[in-house]
Amino acid sequence: MAADGNGPRWLKALLASPTTLVGGVLLAVIALACFLMPWLGHMDAYATNTSAMLAAPGASGHLMGTDNVGRDLFARVLLGGKASLTVGFSAALIAGIVGLVVGLYSAYYPRLGYMLMRICDGLMAFPAILFGIVFVGSFGQTTRSVVLALSIVFIPMVARVVRSATLANMNENYVQVLVNLGAGGNRILWRNIALNVIGEWIVEVTFVFADAILVEAAMSFIGAGIPQPHPSWGNMLYDSRTYIYSAWWLTVFPGVALALTVFVINMFGDGLREVLDPKKRR
C-alpha cells in the first residue's frame, strides 16, 4: 500500500520470481562473456595454427580445444555467441517495434487491421527458414540481410499478440471514457493502451529473441546465415560435421552454448510472463 509509483513494485515482483531472476542473471552472464571476454582477453578467433589442429579441450591453453585449422574453439564459441546474440537481439528489437505498431493500429482501425492481418497470415504461411534463405539469396549474404529477414519473419508473431491484447483492452471502459472525452486514436493507443500491452509485448519479444537465435543458427548451418569466416554457432556446427567422430568438442561446445542460451532466454521470458501478468496484480 505504501509503495508509491511503479518502480519498487515490479522490482519486488521480480525478486519474488526465481525463474525470472535466474534466467535474467544467466542471460546477462552469457551476454557479458560473449561481448567482453574476447575483447578483454585479447582472444583471437581467426589465427590458424597448423601445429595444434584438432587439439583436445584443455591441451596447450585451449580451454575448449581447437578446430581443424587450429583456431581456438573457446574464442570462436564466444565470438559466435556475440554474432548470434547480436542477430537475435536486433531481429527481436526490429520485429518488436514494427509488430507493436502494426498490432496496435490493426486493433484500433478494423479495416486497416483486416488488411494488415491478411498480410501477416501470408507471411506466416512461409516457413521461417525458407523465407530467410530466399531473402538472403536475393539481397546478399550479409549479417544485415540475415537480421532483416528474421525481423520480417517475426513481425507477424509480435503483431498478433499485441493485437489481441489491444482488442481485449479496448473492451475496457476506460477506452470508452477517453473516446467520450474526445481523445484521438494516437493518444488512446500510445498513451493508454500501450501501457497495458507492454507487458505481454516484452514477453513475446523475449520469445522472438530465442526463436531468432535458433532460426539464425539453422540458416548458418545450411550456409545461408552469417558469412564465413565469421564464426556463428550455426556455421560452427556445420563445420564440425566432418569431425564428429574424431573431435567431439567441435560439436558439443557450440551446440551446448546454443541450447543453453535459448533455454535461458525462454526461462527469462516465462518468468516475465508471470511477473508482468496484470491479473496477478489486482
Binding site: D4, G5, Y174, N180, G182
Partner: protein
C-alpha cells in the same frame, strides 16, 4: 445561462437497429434495440431511465454520449442537434458538456495510470486549464470535493476500493466542467452503505455545479430518491413516463406496476412472496 424552458437534452424518435450479416442474403438478422424513443431532460433535473436487461437503456446512453450513431432520430443538446456531427465538432461542442460514468469503477480507469494522470489527461483533452499547475490544482480540489484528497493523486487504481474509485470516476467526469452527466448504472455495483454515500454526493454536486443528470438504472428504489422524472423502457420502447411521484404512486402500465411490486422490501410483514 440558457432560457429555462429549453431542455438541456432532447431525444427525438430514437431508433437503433443492429444487423448481423452472414454470407447469404437471408442470414441478415435485424435486431431492433430501440424503437422510437423520445424524452427530454430539463436543466438541473435528474431524469431516470429505468429498464431490465435488454431494454435498450445502455444503447440509449451510448447514443446520447455519441459513442454510437442512431439508425434514425436525433439527439439535441441545448438546442444543438449533434446527431450527425463530425468527431471534431463533437469534441468541440459536445464531449466536454456530456460526460458519462460507467457501472464498473475498476475498468473505467486505466490500471497503469495514476489518479493524477487520469484527471490531468481528461483536462488536457478538453483544454481545461492553461498550465499543468492549474490543472493539478483543479484535480486536487475536485478530489477533495468528492471526499478524497490530494493523497489520492499519486496512487494507482488498484489501491482503492470500489466506492472510492467511483468517486474518482465522478471527479474525472466533473473536472472538464460538463453540464450533463450520464450515470449508467453508476451505483449498481456498490455496497449499500457506499451506494448511499455516492448518492448523497451526487445530490450535493448537482446543486453545486448546476448539473443535469441522466440516471440509468434497473433499481427503482434508487430512482425514487434521486430522480425528478422517470422513463420506463421495455424492449426498446418507452412504455411510461412521468414525474417520480406520479409513476410510483399510479403506474399506468402493468409492466411498471409489476416492476415496482417486484422490489423486495425490507419488511417481512409484507409477504411479497405469498401467492
Amino acid at each position: 445561462m440558457a432560457t429555462q424552458h429549453r431542455p438541456i437534452l432532447q431525444v427525438n424518435n430514437l431508433c437503433k437497429d443492429y444487423v448481423t450479416r452472414g454470407f447469404s442474403h437471408n442470414a441478415a438478422n435485424i435486431f431492433h434495440a430501440l424503437k422510437n424513443v423520445s424524452f427530454e431532460v430539463d436543466h438541473r433535473q435528474t431524469y431516470a431511465l429505468v429498464g431490465e436487461s435488454g431494454s435498450g437503456k445502455s444503447t440509449t446512453a451510448k447514443i446520447i454520449s455519441a459513442l454510437e450513431k442512431p439508425t434514425s432520430g436525433t439527439v439535441v443538446f441545448d438546442g444543438d442537434n449533434y446527431t450527425d456531427d463530425s468527431p471534431r465538432q463533437l469534441r468541440r461542442d459536445i464531449r466536454g458538456n456530456i460526460q458519462m460514468v460507467f457501472q464498473d469503477p475498476f475498468s473505467s480507469l486505466n490500471p497503469r495510470k495514476s489518479i493524477a494522470g487520469a484527471l490531468l489527461e481528461a483536462m488536457e483533452i478538453q483544454n481545461v486549464g492553461n498550465t499543468k499547475r492549474e490543472r493539478l490544482d483543479a484535480a486536487e480540489s475536485m478530489l477533495e470535493r468528492v471526499g478524497l484528497g490530494s493523497w489520492a493523486l499519486n496512487r494507482y487504481p488498484y489501491q482503492f476500493s470500489g466506492g472510492q474509485l467511483q468517486r474518482i470516476n465522478i471527479a474525472r467526469a466533473l473536472v472538464v466542467e460538463p453540464k450533463l452527466l450520464i450515470l449508467d448504472e453508476s451505483v449498481s455495483a456498490l455496497d449499500v452503505s457506499v451506494q448511499a454515500q455516492v448518492l448523497n454526493l451526487l445530490q450535493d454536486l448537482k446543486e453545486e455545479f448546476a448539473l443535469s443528470y441522466l440516471f440509468i438504472t434497473h433499481d427503482l428504489s434508487v430512482v425514487r430518491f434521486i430522480a425528478d422524472r422517470v422513463g420506463v423502457l421495455r424492449k426498446g420502447t418507452l412504455v411510461e413516463e412521468g414525474t417520480v411521484g406520479e409513476v410510483f404512486a399510479n403506474p399506468r402500465t402493468d409492466y411498471t406496476r409489476n416492476l415496482l411490486d417486484s422490489i423486495p422490501l425490507p419488511d417481512p410483514s409484507r409477504h411479497q412472496l405469498a401467492g
